[in-house]
Assembly symmetry: C2
Homo-oligomer: 194 residues x 2
């Protein structure tokens, strides 16, 4: 028999939750709705994840893990260009999975001190931090924070639909955000090196 062929209910529930999130947004991720989708009893999710916040936390961890994988896959020779590419990837991820990205930053409905959550988030931001460090920037942590804030802000504003009214209706959010990331993140780094 093949290894790990049984999809271990817990795993089934998690992927049901991700589907529910993509289909009906954050509000759709309820203990009972997810159980229904996974074909188990209404109390099964609570058995594995404790409560609703536990389920959402597990989903968020999955999200940070996927985001990390996407960032790891980014490659670029020039350090500054790499930081910009990471930023574009971050924005693209937020654009492709808006509900997931929103959930990942809604700590009031998560277990904010969950070690897995902290670790998975830290590993995502760690990638950006090391890329910033390789540019030779002086205060790595400040530049990392400002870069993160910038791309995350773009994700939020794009999700809220306020970019188009500001820039113009015929501009694609993702294109606009990417060009802004390119232009200003690299500019930021240039002024911060030395």
């Amino acid at each position: 028999m093949s290894a790990s062929s049984a999809p271990s209910t817990r795993r089934t529930l998690l992927s049901a939750a991700l589907d529910e999130l993509a289909d009906h947004g954050h509000a759709g991720v309820g203990l009972r709705a997810v159980a229904r989708r996974a074909g188990v009893s209404h109390a099964a999710p609570a058995h594995f994840f404790g409560d609703r916040a536990g389920l959402l936390t597990a989903v968020a961890v999955e999200g940070f893990t996927d985001l990390t994988a996407a960032l790891v896959a980014v490659d670029a020779k020039d350090p500054a260009e790499k930081v910009a590419a990471l930023g574009r990837t971050y924005v693209a991820f937020g654009s492709r999975y808006p509900a997931l990205m929103e959930l990942m930053f809604r700590s009031t409905e998560l277990h904010p001190d969950d070690p897995d959550l902290r670790a998975s988030r830290q590993s995502a931001i760690g990638i950006l931090a090391t890329a910033v460090a390789q540019t030779g920037a002086e205060d790595v942590r400040e530049v990392t924070l400002i870069s993160w804030a910038l791309v995350h802000g773009l994700v939020v504003l794009s999700r809220e639909g306020v970019i188009a009214p500001l820039i113009g209706p015929n501009a694609d959010d993702l294109t606009v955000a990417s060009s802004l990331v390119d232009r200003y993140v690299t500019g930021l780094l240039a002024s911060s090196v030395d």
Copy 2:
């Protein structure tokens, strides 16, 4: 008899919702909980606001109105310094009213096309846009967007508690964010003027 002495149930409900939001966060703002706090029947909020999204939308409008007022009160001689001051005020507002600020940008639980919501949000961002314009920046709308994204990102990251782990435990979020706004927003503008 004094003008507008009667606190018009609707107004009472709205301020009860704001209190509930400040006390128990976004999840605490339920139709029934707000009704209880306001001392009216459980269906009264729905009577005035239609549904829960309607109530939340009204609260968000209140938030954007307050934010606008805070931004209008900002004064500075140098145009670039004014933009920075607006950014600091934005961050401070988000820091003082985290739950409200979060709600204001949760369009999935609001009525995103509500005209009052759009108008109040537009008036807030308009203040930043005109300040940016007065610096003589080339592409006003792009610089406005990037500045907005930056400060909003800082608000989100501060709320999520990820600034301290990144920068250091003895640094105050608000101070860190303010200094970043000062340093980089003004740098941004300097490189963008001509």
